[in-house]
Symmetry: C2
Subunit: 432 residues, 2 copies
Amino acid sequence: MEVFDAAELWSRERIAETQLTRLKATLAQSRKCSFYRERLDEAGIGPDSIRSLDDLRRIPFTTKQDLRSQYPTGLLCVPPSEIVRMHCSSGTTGTPVAICHTQNDINAWADLMARCMHMVGVRREDVFQNMSGYGLFTGGLGIHFGAERLGCMTIPAGPGNSRRQIKLAKDFRTTVAHILPSYALILGEHLRNMGEDPRDFPLRIALVGAEPYTEEFRKRIEELFDMKAYNSYGLSEMNGPGVGFECLEQNGLHIWEDAYIPEIVDPDTGEPVPDGEVGELVMTSLCRQGMPILRYRTRDLTRFLPGPCVCGRAHRRMDRILGRADDMFIIKGVNVYPMQIEQVIMTFKEVGQSYLILLENDGIGDVMRVQVEIRDEYFVEDMRALQSLQKVIAQRLRDEILVTPRVELVESNSLPRTEGKAVRVQDLRAKK
Amino acid sequence: MEVFDAAELWSRERIAETQLTRLKATLAQSRKCSFYRERLDEAGIGPDSIRSLDDLRRIPFTTKQDLRSQYPTGLLCVPPSEIVRMHCSSGTTGTPVAICHTQNDINAWADLMARCMHMVGVRREDVFQNMSGYGLFTGGLGIHFGAERLGCMTIPAGPGNSRRQIKLAKDFRTTVAHILPSYALILGEHLRNMGEDPRDFPLRIALVGAEPYTEEFRKRIEELFDMKAYNSYGLSEMNGPGVGFECLEQNGLHIWEDAYIPEIVDPDTGEPVPDGEVGELVMTSLCRQGMPILRYRTRDLTRFLPGPCVCGRAHRRMDRILGRADDMFIIKGVNVYPMQIEQVIMTFKEVGQSYLILLENDGIGDVMRVQVEIRDEYFVEDMRALQSLQKVIAQRLRDEILVTPRVELVESNSLPRTEGKAVRVQDLRAKK
Ligand SMILES: [Zn+2]
Ligand SMILES: [Zn+2]
């Protein structure tokens, strides 16, 4: 197996040994800001408290609220002059979260990202089109630096502007793209409207992530473009992209455990859940100098996939993100994740490219409507067939989420489109 | 004098010597693409033809049309796998121009950009906010890489969104910004509307460029923010920013002659103009491997400033860009550059922050109207004073451009604002 760097193939033992060493160093580094120093002191964790990886659990969690409280630079663990980059969340709601990086941090991040791309066969001969927004959002510069580090011809196309994306990809024979899954569909539609077959497009690999989508959805865009789509996971608090990535097996995302310690905990109790069970991902950075972060509560729901990966890499795999702890909505007393609904409806061949979940209150109680686009070839005038499909979808949804929604079949392209993250849920219920 | 690298202080002799060596190497490199090989062969220029820098003039010019004709990769002089970055013009009109860079090209570009910033006192302790668009436009990534190379804390803020720009700059105590001159005014207005004095803003240095503006305009934004604004020059065909930059003297832009050979020629004849006379800037890249470009006709009008710079650097200085050969408009048979008009009106203390040139045809002949915003304190109801000001401005304009325009004084903030490049001329004449 050709690998980008040695750490990619480390054994479980070597990984664990390195994690322990780096965790100790990270703890020492984190104490250089008063926030962590005080918090670790309160928890009674001194320089010699960590003797094994199990001691990790003694370290208090860091929440998004903690990061906000330390905005802008409360968590800095190096002199400000050592910082070469700041990324921050858009901050449209409340205080933003800012993450500051040293040159070493940036280099290590680029290496991890290059390792992800190399793992799925991206090479310096590839032409890579980055359809992410640049600027403060980490998906742009983060992946850009990784692709250049790997030596790809990197096209910083930025988001949107389908006509230009298509022209660039054709003119430069783009083989690899970083693209939002929902935008891949839009691009495919655009090509079809131009009378072209997206399968003739030169793309062979897509890096996808940044919004939730199902396995069915992934298969759909893979078939649409005759390419492979690999799931990417990252969050700006842990640099950005490059945290976890699928190998060629497409069976879970390897988390780079030489750079991070992942845990999965019960979102309510904070206690670890057994391997294979869904919970909230918690991450500790191991290589960051500028702003190390300990046991960060990501709010992302996933599970560890048990057993070793066929590919031979020992870095633990997590499942695709199954939702956000915060995206959950409650209807008729039941917890529902939008992803559960998508997973059901996308198994129907009649279903088109978009859907929308509407939560309403009809004066008596909560009502969930699910609007589902139906492909043109099935949207015939045979009312009986459509009614029957509607009924089957509603039943399958009830089986999954224990609530019976009102399913409405709509024509393809009739639901609102967006070039950014797709909006899947509209909660129109009056706030209580 | 503290300098970023040794080449910054090279003597005239050392520069000339290096230029000759690098010109020969660049010619050899350029022959690796058939376009230049054929063109040089046609001109009878072989590997040994260049014996002195004067032989440069025997090399044919390269025009934007040439670059377009070779889109996308006709000018590539390395194997495609050596390319790590592509930048290209937006291509909204006609075929775009694409420039491909190797890793060495990117590194050399970042070094030049860092040298520019270092020259005006930017240091790793500074916080640098890049208000340029990222992506394919070189002002984003080009300056970003330079700032990180210098070790500044770089905030990739991107363009627009004044509220966020102000919040970031305040929260991180931004000391240096890359900003469009017209946007600096908008930001200042925004601060004033918030009831704040822009002079209390932490900015101490601005890198400005990318759109034409006058010395008066520069002084105005310097006073507005109590900062220094340094003119930056670059064009994507020669990498992007980092080609020329003002030193602390603010008296012309040093062109980095270890990396480029600049010439100034008559735009019509292509013959060199005497030092100090205005003409079209022609540039030859000396360090580029991926896509060397020989004697590129920039269409930018400027002149060499004669004599050595007080700062001691021997790299030749050019004047600010005095216009685009293509921006020129003809009215009543006279060639006029918008910059000539701005230079005149901005000398009046009564004049506010914006103006607009309207070219119309009243059925009899061409008419030029110049709408000029007047500061609130002067926009009094004393009609006589305003009429007299109107007349004086018209006379001064006639003296400069030999045509008498119709001058209209308007209230401040009444002309359309844009967050991108300011639109200064509207040609409403029917096309002939
Ligand atoms: Zn694997
Ligand atoms: Zn100087």
